[in-house]
């Protein structure tokens, strides 16, 4: 089937009808979910010569997937030639803005010249529907079998060992030595199989996003872009997501822009609804002009696991591994918002480990342990560990970070640049006083600098 797929250049949808022959143990591994982590695992295993079945519940890969907007490609580039990949724009600018609810904006913009050169710091905006379908096609061309419109409803066990999956197809039980759980943030199968616990509410964020259509020239003009260059704008402060812990974002695609917010479900549950928060963000004077006159083309929402390293479940079990969002591999350090790179990295290491284990005819936990070990030694777990302190610290200091600081900055800069007949000295003193007051004096500022020192260490 995979050979046909390669020839026609189209994704085949092999059927698993009740009359189909017995597929039990026809495959070396079954991958649950054709997102970035699952496809990376399937691709890696197919390259290692394994027979891989990649199951996707949507009508095509990507149809159920939502993300903020940047695909990080260092590992994907190792796996496939991304020259023909359906990228939107490369990130040429990162911009960090603090917004007050009064309409103030204080921004830092970063536009290194080097980002214009290949490989563009391995950062691209993509639309997941297009990218994921393309990426899954690479796995199919490598020999994996993709079956869509098939929902995995549980795992099959023999004693403690996982020996396959149960699907919603007629006679839909499928057996294979290894199951890769790449089912995303809503990991119903892993949770039901006791492979992980349901994450705590305070460790999960809700994100809502809209894609707006604009013509290419308008996007280039509004965001000061040329050619395939793109922008990633991140927003913090009360003007972005109100009293909640989180932020807003705007990403440029070729002919659309993605606009959204992400913040803790805990805050939504306490009365700050996603829709109202999105409305307020889109109405902010710093954001509204970017989307003026644009047409809404899609509204989407998803949860994001933000528990960090401490919330990571066990990654290997007898006959199964957990990868990507299902394993909670998302980094939010305030300025680093990553997940796509970690998903691909985990799928890659899992695929390698499975191939090595099956080489010895084994699929028990101890035979698969190379996966967590390699992931541990990679940037994925190292970065998650490094920023494990972050979520709790910002939640504790939210009043200062999201409300007092943006307002103090806006007041201080207004003071510093004030045009009147008072001397610059006096304005400078007043601006400094305003900042110090917000930080709690020299002592308070020093204390906060110490608390957040790990941002730079």
């Amino acid at each position: 089937m995979s050979a046909d797929g390669a020839e026609s250049g189209e994704l085949k949808q092999p059927t698993l009808q009740s009359e189909t022959p017995d597929y039990n143990d026809a495959y070396d591994a079954i991958v649950v979910g054709a997102g970035l982590a699952g496809t990376a695992a399937a691709l890696t295993m197919a390259r290692e010569g394994l027979d891989v079945l990649l199951l996707e519940r949507g009508p095509a890969p990507g149809t159920k997937n939502v993300f903020g907007g940047v695909l990080y490609t260092p590992t994907i580039r190792e796996l496939v030639d991304i020259d023909d990949a359906p990228m939107e724009r490369y990130i040429a600018e990162k911009r960090f803005s603090m917004l007050t609810s009064d309409g103030d904006e204080t921004a830092v913009s970063i536009r290194p010249g080097a980002w214009h050169d290949e490989p563009h710091n391995d950062s691209y905006t993509v639309l997941r529907r297009r990218f994921d379908e393309w990426f899954a096609k690479q796995a199919v061309e490598a020999g994996a079998t993709l079956v869509t419109e098939t929902t995995v409803t549980g795992v099959l066990r023999d004693g403690q060992t996982i020996v396959g999956v149960e699907t919603d197809r007629p006679n839909g039980e499928l057996r294979a030595p290894v199951v890769v759980l790449a089912e995303g943030a809503n990991s119903l199968v892993s949770e039901a199989a006791d492979l992980k616990e349901r994450p705590d509410r305070e460790d999960v964020a809700v994100s809502v996003k809209e894609v707006f259509k604009l013509d290419r020239e308008t996007i280039d003009d509004r965001f000061r872009l040329d050619g395939d260059a793109g922008a990633a704008y991140h927003y913090f402060g009360e003007g972005a997501v109100g009293q909640a812990v989180g932020g807003g974002f705007v990403y440029t695609n070729k002919r659309t822009i993605s606009v959204g917010i992400a913040y803790r479900i805990e805050d939504a549950a306490q009365g700050q609804t996603p829709e109202e928060t999105l409305d307020a963000f889109e109405s902010h004077p710093a954001v509204a002009p970017l989307i003026r006159g644009a047409r809404r083309t899609e509204y989407a929402a998803h949860v994001i696991p933000e528990g960090g390293a401490k919330a990571m479940p066990d990654l290997v079990h007898d006959g199964a591994v957990v990868v990507g969002d299902a394993a909670g591999l998302v980094l939010n350090s305030g300025v680093h918002l990553e997940g796509t790179n970690m998903a691909v990295e985990s799928g890659y290491h899992a695929g390698k480990a499975i191939a090595a284990a099956l080489e010895d005819d084994r699929s028990d936990e101890s035979a698969l342990v190379a996966y967590p070990r390699d992931l541990e030694q990679s940037f994925v777990v190292e970065n998650l560990r490094h920023y494990d302190w972050f979520q709790g610290t910002i939640a504790d200091d939210r009043q200062f970070l999201f409300e007092d600081l943006p307002r103090a900055l806006a007041d201080a800069e207004t003071e510093y640049f004030k045009m009147d007949r008072t001397s610059k000295d006096e304005h400078t003193d007043a601006a400094r006083d305003r900042l110090l007051e917000a930080a709690g004096g020299w002592f308070g500022a020093a204390k906060r600098a110490w608390r957040f020192r790990r941002m730079l260490s």
Binding site: G62, P274, A301
Partner: protein
């Protein structure tokens, strides 16, 4: 301080949901585990957190929300949002449910 008047976008949740493509699976993939828990609930957090107006606690419903499953974006927020873990959440059957065009 500024005098900027906040401009609220002229868009309703219906307008937003209208942009989303669905394949109706014909039956709800969402449910309630125990209606008594909803009757005792005073916070209606499912309604608060849902970005797609799936959960609505109507007057006289004894606190049990109605479920507009065909609006569901499959984001999963309600699963985590309900403090009593009373949301029954499954994936829609055989490719049903939301079909994102862009994602």
């Amino acid at each position: 301080m500024s005098t900027v008047q906040p401009h609220v976008p002229d868009v309703s949740i219906e307008d937003r949901l209208y942009t989303v493509k669905y394949r109706d699976a014909g039956e709800s993939h969402l449910g309630i585990k125990n209606a008594d828990v909803c009757t005792d609930c005073t916070t209606n957090e499912c309604e608060q957190v849902c970005p797609a107006a799936v959960w609505t606690v109507e007057e006289g419903s004894n606190g049990v929300p109605s479920i507009a499953y065909e609006n569901c974006l499959e984001c999963g927020t309600c699963r985590f949002g309900c403090p009593s873990d009373n949301v029954e959440w499954t994936y829609p059957k055989t490719g049903g449910g939301v079909v994102f065009k862009q994602g």
